[in-house]
C-alpha cells in the first residue's frame, strides 16, 4: 500500500523499523502523515478562489513566491464543515503526483503530536465497503490507547487534484 519510504539516514536502524508521523485532529479523529513529507505548518490565511474546482479546493496562496493550492480535508472526506478557529492550521506537504512533486496545503482542525510508529505495530485498515476513504488510509496503529489513522497522502492528494478527470472516484 505504501509508496516510497524515505529514510532519514541519521539513525538508519531505527528508521528501518519505525517512522515518525505528525498527527493532526479532524472531526475528533487523529490522523498521521509521514513527517518527512511535511514542509511546514502555517496559520490559516485568506486564499484566492479558483473557479471550476471542487468545493474542497479552497483556493491558492502565495507561499514565498510559489502558488500553492489549499485543500480542506473536512470537505475532502465529506465531513461536516466548521468555522475556522484559532487552532485551524494549514499543513504544507510535498506529495508525488505521477512523476512530479507538488507542494500542497491541507487545512485541518489542529495539529497534535509527533509519534514514532513501529512498522510492526501497524495494521491494515479494515476493508469496509462503501467508505471510499479507506483508499487513502495506509494503516492503523494504536498508540497510548488511541487509534491513529496513517494517511497515504500521495494517493489522497494525487486523487484530489486529478478528481475532475475521473468523476465519481472520490467521496460524495
Amino acid at each position: 500500500m505504501s509508496t516510497a519510504k524515505p529514510t532519514s539516514g541519521a539513525d538508519k536502524a531505527a528508521a528501518e523499523s519505525s517512522e515518525q508521523y505528525l498527527t493532526f485532529m479532524l472531526a475528533g479523529e487523529e490522523y498521521g502523515v509521514d513527517i518527512l513529507r511535511v514542509q511546514e505548518i502555517k496559520g490559516w490565511d485568506k486564499v484566492t478562489r479558483i473557479p471550476h474546482t471542487p468545493d474542497y479546493v479552497l483556493g491558492v496562496i502565495n507561499l514565498r513566491g510559489a502558488v500553492v493550492p489549499i485543500l480542506d480535508l473536512r470537505r475532502r472526506f465529506g465531513l461536516e464543515t466548521i468555522a475556522f478557529g484559532p487552532t485551524t492550521v494549514v499543513i504544507v506537504v510535498r506529495v508525488m503526483s505521477g512523476r512530479d512533486e507538488r507542494t500542497v496545503g491541507v487545512v485541518v482542525d489542529a495539529v497534535s503530536e509527533v509519534y514514532n510508529v513501529d512498522a510492526a505495530d501497524t495494521k491494515p485498515p479494515p476493508d469496509v465497503c462503501g467508505t471510499v476513504d479507506t483508499v487513502f488510509v495506509k494503516a492503523l496503529v494504536t498508540i497510548e490507547e488511541k487509534m491513529l489513522i496513517l494517511l497515504d497522502i500521495d494517493r489522497l492528494i494525487g486523487n484530489s487534484i486529478a478528481d475532475e478527470l475521473v468523476p465519481g472516484a472520490a467521496v460524495a
Binding site: 486564499v47 484566492t48 474546482t53 491558492v60 513566491g65 510559489a66 500553492v68 512530479d100
Partner: protein, 704 residues
C-alpha cells in the same frame, strides 16, 4: 557503448559540441555551393576533425570511423586534389545528417543505423575512389593515400605493422600522452617500441616540456589499418606518421626509413612497468632546443567555434527570474505602503522607492536578457530545409533572411521553431510555383522566400513572405462551404477568407504530398502560436504571393496585465488581448434567445461574457450597464467581458498553476500582487472559444 560516470559529463559536452560542429559543417556546405572558397572548406574540415578526434577519444569508434571518411574527402577538397561538385556536397550533407543521428543514437546508447552508415560510407568511398585513381600524377601519393587505396582495394590484412611515429615537440603540451597510445596499441597485439632519441638537443638547450623522442613500433597480428588510425587519430594532425605493413601483400609505402635507433629501449610488450622510457622522464632528462619551429597546421582547432556565449542551466536562470520577481513584489508592496502616510516626511522614502523601482526593473530586464537568444537559432535550419525541399519539388528558390539578431525568449524560440518550419514548407510547396509557371506569369523563374524578424511595440514579429501564387480565395471559400465551416449565405471579407486556412481540417492541396497537405498543420501552427500568447495572420494577393505574420510576446515569464475586479475578486487580463474598454449604454445590449446577451459595438455584435457567471463570483451588479465591458480579441474573434471595475495596469510575473495544482479552464496562470495575494490570469483565447461554444449552444437551443 558505455562510458563510466566521470566521463559521462564530459561526453555530454562532446555531444553538444559535435552537434554545434555539425551545424557549422552544414551551413558551410550549403554556402559552398555558390563559391568554393578555401576558408570555408577549412572551417568545415576543422569541424569534422574535432568531431572525429572527440569521438575517438570517447571510444565511439563507429562515429570516428565514419567521420574519418568525411574528413578525408574534405581534406582532398581543401588541398584542391578533389573538385567541389554538387554531388559531393549532397553526399556530405547526407553524411552530416547521418552523423547527427549517430551521435543521438550513441548518446542514447541505441544501436546505430548500420545500413545507412554503410551506404553513405560507400558513397564517400566511391567519390574518393574516383579521386585517387584519376589525378594520380598530381603529386607523389602520400604513403597514407597508398595504404588507403590498398584498404579500399580489399588487400589482405598484413600480419603486422611497423609504425614510425614522429610527434611534434608540442605533443605533451597538447595533452597527448604517448604512453597511453602505446598501451592502446598493446591491446591489439604484441608490440615492441624503439625510442629514437636522435632529435635530443644538448642538455642546456632542452625544454623539459617538449617531446624530442620519436618511436619505431613493431606490432604483430592481423590488425586492420583502421584500428591503428583510431589510436593515432587525436594526434595525427601534428605528427609524422608512417604505417608500413609487415609481411603483408600490400606494397611497402615509400619513404618509411627505419632509421636505426641509436638509443633503443626495447619495450617488451610493456609487460613490466616501463617507467624507463616514459616520455615524462625522457623529457626531463633530455636536453632541449626550444624552438624547433612549431609545425604549420599544429592542432589549434579545439579553440575554434567559440561564439562568446556561456552555457547556463535553464534551471539556474529560472531561479534568478523567480527571485527578481519577488523583488518586484516587495517593491510594489513598499510603494503601496507609502501611499497611506503623511507625505511631508516621505519625500525621501518616495525617492528611494522610485530608485528601487528603477533598479528592480533594470535588474529584471538584464536577467531576462540571459534567457534571450537571437532568432538565428531558429532561422539557421532553413537554408538546409529550403535547399532539400526545392530540389525535391524542382523549384528554384532564393531564401532571404533578415533580422536574425532579433532576440526572444528561449522557450518561445524553441516552441516557435516547428511552426516556422511548417510555414516555410507550406510556402515552398503551395506558395511558390514551378519555374515554367513563374515565367509564364511574367515573374523571375527563381522564387523568393523571405523570413524576417523585428520588434514592434514590445512584441516580436516574424514574417514569412513568398512571391508565389498567393491563396486562391475562390477555392478556399468553396472548400470552406463544402466542409460547412462557413454558412452558405455568409459573406466574408478577403482577409477573413485567407484566415480560413487556419481552421482545423482545412487543406486545399490538390493532392496530399509528403511535404504538406494533410490538413493538420495550419490549425496546429495557430494553436502553438496561441499557446505562446501570440497571434498569427495571413494576407495574400493572388498571383503576387502571401505574407504570414506572427506576433509573439518577447517572453513568457512576464506579462503586461490589466487588473480587473469582479465582486471581491481580482483577475489579470493580458493587455495584448484587450482591444478597448467601454461603458455600455442599455439600448446597445440585446438578448438572443433569452440567454446570450450581445452588445452592438459600432457595426459589430459582440457576445457578452459575464465573468461572474463564468467563474461563479458574486458581482456588484449583473447588468451590463453598471459595469465595464472589456473587449477581448483572439483568433480574429471578439467578445465583451463584463467586469465590475478596472484597477491598475502593471507588469506581472507569470506563475504556473500547474506546477503544484493543475490547469484550470479559463485560467492561463497566476501571479502575485503587491499585497502578497495571488491573482489569477485570465486565458483570453480560452474564454473566447468557450463563449463561442456557448453561443452555438444557444443557437442549438433555439432550433430545438
Amino acid at each position: 557503448m558505455t562510458v563510466d560516470l566521470e566521463m559521462a559529463e564530459i561526453a555530454k559536452v562532446f555531444f553538444q559540441e559535435s552537434r554545434e560542429g555539425l551545424d557549422v559543417m552544414e551551413s558551410g556546405l550549403l554556402s559552398l555551393g555558390a563559391t568554393a572558397d578555401s576558408e570555408n572548406i577549412n572551417t568545415i574540415f576543422r569541424a569534422a576533425h574535432s568531431i572525429k578526434g572527440g569521438s575517438a577519444t570517447f571510444g565511439f569508434a563507429e562515429v570516428a570511423g565514419f567521420t574519418h571518411g568525411v574528413e578525408t574527402l574534405l581534406d582532398e577538397m581543401r588541398n584542391g586534389v578533389r573538385p567541389v561538385t554538387a554531388e559531393a556536397i549532397q553526399t556530405l550533407l547526407q553524411a552530416c545528417d547521418c552523423l547527427r543521428e549517430m551521435i543521438t543514437a550513441t548518446e542514447a546508447e541505441q544501436p546505430l543505423d548500420q545500413v545507412r552508415i554503410a551506404s553513405l560510407n560507400g558513397d564517400i568511398k566511391h567519390i574518393l575512389g574516383e579521386a585517387t585513381e584519376a589525378p594520380a600524377p598530381v603529386s607523389a601519393p602520400a604513403p597514407a593515400e597508398a595504404n588507403r587505396a590498398a584498404d579500399i582495394g580489399g588487400a589482405s590484412e598484413p600480419s603486422g605493422w611497423r609504425v614510425r611515429f614522429e610527434p611534434v615537440a608540442d605533443l605533451l603540451r597538447l595533452r597527448n600522452e604517448p604512453t597511453r597510445m602505446f598501451a592502446e596499441l598493446r591491446r591489439l597485439g604484441p608490440m615492441v617500441a624503439h625510442a629514437d632519441a636522435s632529435r635530443l638537443p644538448p642538455l642546456d638547450a632542452l625544454d623539459p616540456e617538449s617531446c624530442y623522442l620519436s618511436w619505431n613500433i613493431d606490432i604483430t597480428g592481423q590488425i586492420p589499418r583502421g584500428k591503428l588510425d583510431e589510436i593515432f587519430d587525436w594526434v595525427d594532425s601534428g605528427c609524422r606518421l608512417e604505417f608500413t605493413p609487415n609481411g603483408g601483400s600490400a606494397p611497402a609505402a615509400p619513404g618509411a626509413k627505419a632509421s636505426a635507433p641509436p638509443q633503443a629501449a626495447a619495450i617488451d610488450a610493456w609487460s613490466a612497468e616501463t617507467k624507463a622510457v616514459s616520455p615524462t622522464e625522457a623529457k626531463t632528462a633530455a636536453p632541449a632546443d626550444a624552438d624547433r619551429g612549431a609545425p604549420a597546421g599544429a592542432p589549434m582547432q579545439k579553440a575554434s567555434g567559440d561564439s562568446g556565449s556561456i552555457r547556463v542551466a535553464t534551471e539556474k536562470v529560472d531561479n534568478i527570474i523567480n527571485l527578481v520577481g519577488e523583488l518586484l513584489i516587495t517593491q510594489s508592496m513598499l510603494s503601496s505602503f507609502a501611499d497611506g502616510i503623511d507625505p511631508n516626511d516621505l519625500d525621501r522614502l518616495r525617492q528611494g522607492l522610485s530608485q528601487l523601482a528603477r533598479n528592480t526593473r533594470e535588474l529584471q530586464e538584464s536577467v531576462m536578457q540571459i534567457r534571450m537568444l537571437p532568432i538565428s537559432f531558429a532561422f539557421n535550419r532553413f537554408p538546409r530545409i529550403v535547399h532539400d525541399l526545392s530540389r525535391k519539388l524542382a523549384k528554384k528558390v532564393e531564401l532571404k533572411l533578415s533580422g536574425e539578431g532579433t532576440e526572444l525568449d528561449k522557450t518561445v524560440l524553441e516552441k516557435i521553431s516547428d511552426p516556422l518550419v511548417h510555414l516555410v514548407r507550406n510556402a515552398l510547396d503551395h506558395g511558390l510555383e514551378i519555374p515554367e509557371r513563374r515565367v509564364a506569369a511574367g515573374k523571375h523563374e527563381t522564387g523568393t522566400l523571405e523570413l524576417a524578424a523585428f520588434h514592434e511595440g514590445g512584441n516580436i514579429i516574424i514574417e514569412v513572405r513568398d512571391d508565389g501564387a498567393g491563396l486562391n480565395k475562390a477555392k478556399i471559400l468553396q472548400k470552406a462551404r463544402e466542409r460547412a465551416l462557413v454558412a452558405p449565405d455568409q459573406e466574408l471579407t478577403d482577409e477573413q477568407i485567407d484566415n480560413l486556412i487556419f481552421m482545423p481540417g482545412f487543406s486545399t492541396a490538390e493532392q496530399i504530398s509528403d511535404v504538406s497537405g494533410r490538413g493538420v498543420g495550419m490549425d496546429v501552427v495557430r494553436r502553438n502560436i496561441n499557446d505562446l500568447g501570440g497571434h498569427v495572420q495571413i494576407s495574400s494577393r493572388e498571383g503576387l504571393g502571401s505574407t504570414i505574420r506572427i506576433r509573439l510576446p518577447l517572453t513568457l515569464a512576464i506579462l503586461d496585465g490589466q487588473l480587473v475586479r469582479v465582486g471581491k475578486e481580482i483577475y489579470v487580463i493580458s493587455l495584448l488581448a484587450i482591444v478597448e474598454t467601454i461603458q455600455v449604454a442599455r439600448e446597445r445590449v440585446n438578448t438572443l434567445v433569452g440567454r446570450t446577451e450581445v452588445f452592438r459595438l459600432r457595426d459589430e455584435y459582440l457576445p457578452v461574457v459575464k465573468l461572474c457567471d463564468q467563474f461563479g463570483i458574486e458581482p456588484d451588479s449583473r447588468s451590463a450597464e453598471d459595469g465595464l465591458l472589456v473587449v477581448l480579441e483572439a483568433d480574429g474573434k471578439r467578445v465583451g467581458v463584463l467586469v465590475d471595475d478596472l484597477l491598475a495596469q502593471q507588469q506581472v510575473v507569470i506563475k504556473s498553476l500547474e506546477s503544484n495544482f493543475k490547469s484550470v479552464a479559463g485560467i492561463a496562470g497566476a501571479t502575485i500582487l503587491g499585497d502578497g495575494t495571488v491573482a489569477l490570469i485570465i486565458d483570453a483565447p480560452g474564454l473566447i472559444s468557450s463563449a463561442a461554444k456557448q453561443g452555438v449552444g444557444a443557437v442549438a437551443a433555439r432550433a430545438a
